[in-house]
């Protein structure tokens, strides 16, 4: 699950819920969706907890080349 982007993880979480809502699944599948969903929710929360805004600055050198530099503000 590591490196899964937040948006995708969140989408998967919604899929797990939809599958459980359907109800026409085996117990095994239901348990899998449930466990997967709980893990995803936890993962999403951790991602939000860990997230840190990155700030960069655009700069142009003499030859007109664009680059981004880290910016401490």
């Amino acid at each position: 699950m590591e490196a899964l982007p937040f948006e995708e993880a969140f989408e998967h979480l919604e899929t797990a819920i939809a599958a459980l809502q359907d109800g026409k699944i085996s117990l095994n599948e239901a348990l899998q969706h449930y466990q997967e969903g709980m893990k995803l929710a936890q993962y999403c929360n951790e991602l939000l907890q860990r997230a840190e805004l990155t700030v960069q600055q655009l700069s142009v050198d003499d030859t007109g080349l664009l680059s981004v530099l880290p910016l401490d503000v």
Partner: protein
């Protein structure tokens, strides 16, 4: 002795003494106590107290003005706003506390719209006619921008305000600052250039163009046509956040979204992850509830099946059959008992009857039974015996063995 120092040193006076002196100098000058001054209103602020403070500008000079509520009421002066050209009447004095020389306004006379304001209006009309402000040109802002471009001054407090909001609301984002001068003569081209660079770099999903509050002159770059055109040609959707709530600039009209301040612009640019946290929490609860519902449904189904199974179980049938068998056995037994007692009854009757017919009774009355000894057959007629046969005569209390000597029809001789 001089109160401020020895007499032989140059005289040193306190600030308040000088301030008092200045005020006195100004207030005793007749010209300064009733003067008309012409200029353009800027930095105009009216406080809840009703007092109005503004700067009157003309060329490179400016003068602080105070228009107290009482004076405003007395002259029923119009509501002042930035850019107005005025002739102001009042007295000049020195405000010791702030060290300011200011004009205490007694009356104002509007001289028509200011030059800046006129230029603003002309440009607005022209760009509107070109369709640059049209609603259908406005692009929707991305709901979850990964990269947010910001065009402003790196030193500005506005940048720190915007970054603070972005850190708080949406730390998942990446910010790319495209630095620009936001005031001064070079500001318009600097802003336009920074915006173009951001487009050239191409990674930003949305861009904020803005600066913090200031005077009309300080915000004027955002009323420049160069900036308006740069916003219009930007492929990246633009949020404008210039000055305060009451400031409207040309940039605001061209931008895809007008935010009232830089902080509001940052807020508009991103979703709030706090909402997501709540959403995730709710989704977790939904998961738990759904799983519980699923399990209880399953349990109910199992229970129902168990009931169904019990209903069709052969055990019941077996029990039923067993009972039927028991019933039958009982009925059989009753029947047999009945039959036996019936038979017994009949037997008794027959016995009685038999008894009544018993030859023994006849014998008792003096009759006898004669049997042949060889075959025990009863002798009832003469032909039954031959002389020499042995017979037994049974009488009431015993038997008499006899031998046949001869036979005679009609009567028997022994």
């Amino acid at each position: 002795m001089h109160p401020l120092g020895p007499l032989d040193e140059p005289s040193v006076i306190s600030v308040s003494v000088l301030a008092f002196y200045l005020r006195d100098l100004l207030e005793t000058n007749d010209l300064l106590q009733n003067v008309w001054v012409r200029g353009e209103v800027s930095n105009c602020k009216t406080y809840p107290s009703g007092h109005c403070y503004f700067t009157l500008k003309e060329g490179d000079a400016q003068l602080l003005c105070v228009f107290f509520k009482s004076s405003r009421m007395r002259t029923s002066a119009p509501e002042l706003c930035d850019g107005m050209a005025l002739a102001v009447n009042g007295r000049v004095s020195f405000y010791e506390r702030d060290g300011k020389l200011q004009l205490y306004v007694e009356a104002v006379k509007p001289l028509g719209t200011g030059e800046l304001f006129e230029r603003f209006e002309q440009l607005k009309v022209r760009l509107a006619a070109e369709g640059l402000f049209d609603a259908e040109r406005k692009r929707p802002l991305p709901s979850q921008p990964a990269v947010i471009g910001i065009v402003t001054s790196p030193q500005a407090a506005a940048l720190r305000d915007m970054l603070r909001v972005l850190r708080m609301r949406y730390p998942l984002a990446q910010v790319i600052l495209s630095p620009a001068q936001v005031q001064g003569a070079d500001a318009p081209s600097s802003i336009a250039n920074a915006l173009d660079l951001l487009n050239e770099h191409g990674e930003a999903d949305v861009a904020i163009v803005g600066r913090g509050g200031g005077s009309v002159e300080e915000l004027w770059a955002f009323n420049d046509e160069v900036v308006a055109r740069a916003i219009a040609r930007s492929r990246i959707p633009i949020i404008s956040g210039v000055g305060h709530e009451t400031d409207f600039t040309i940039a605001d009209f061209v931008a895809d979204y007008r935010a009232s301040t830089p902080t509001a612009a940052a807020t508009a640019a991103v979703p709030n992850i706090e909402d997501w946290r709540i959403d995730i929490l709710e989704k977790r609860q939904t998961l738990v509830a759904l799983m519980q519902a699923y399990m209880s449904d399953l349990c109910a189904r199992v229970e129902r099946s168990q009931h169904d199974l019990e209903r069709v179980s052969p055990r019941r049938l077996i029990e039923q059959r067993r009972q039927q068998l028991d019933d039958s056995m009982e009925r059989l037994q009753t029947h047999i008992c009945h039959m036996i007692s019936l038979r017994a009854e009949r037997l008794r009757g027959v016995t009685l009857q038999l008894h009544s017919l018993s030859p023994l009774l006849t014998i008792a009355r003096g009759y006898a039974i004669v049997r042949r000894d060889d075959n025990q057959k009863i002798v009832s007629q003469v032909e039954d015996v031959q002389p020499g046969d042995y017979l037994t005569i049974q009488v009431q209390d015993g038997n008499i063995p006899v031998e046949v000597r001869r036979r005679r029809n009609g009567s028997l001789t022994f």
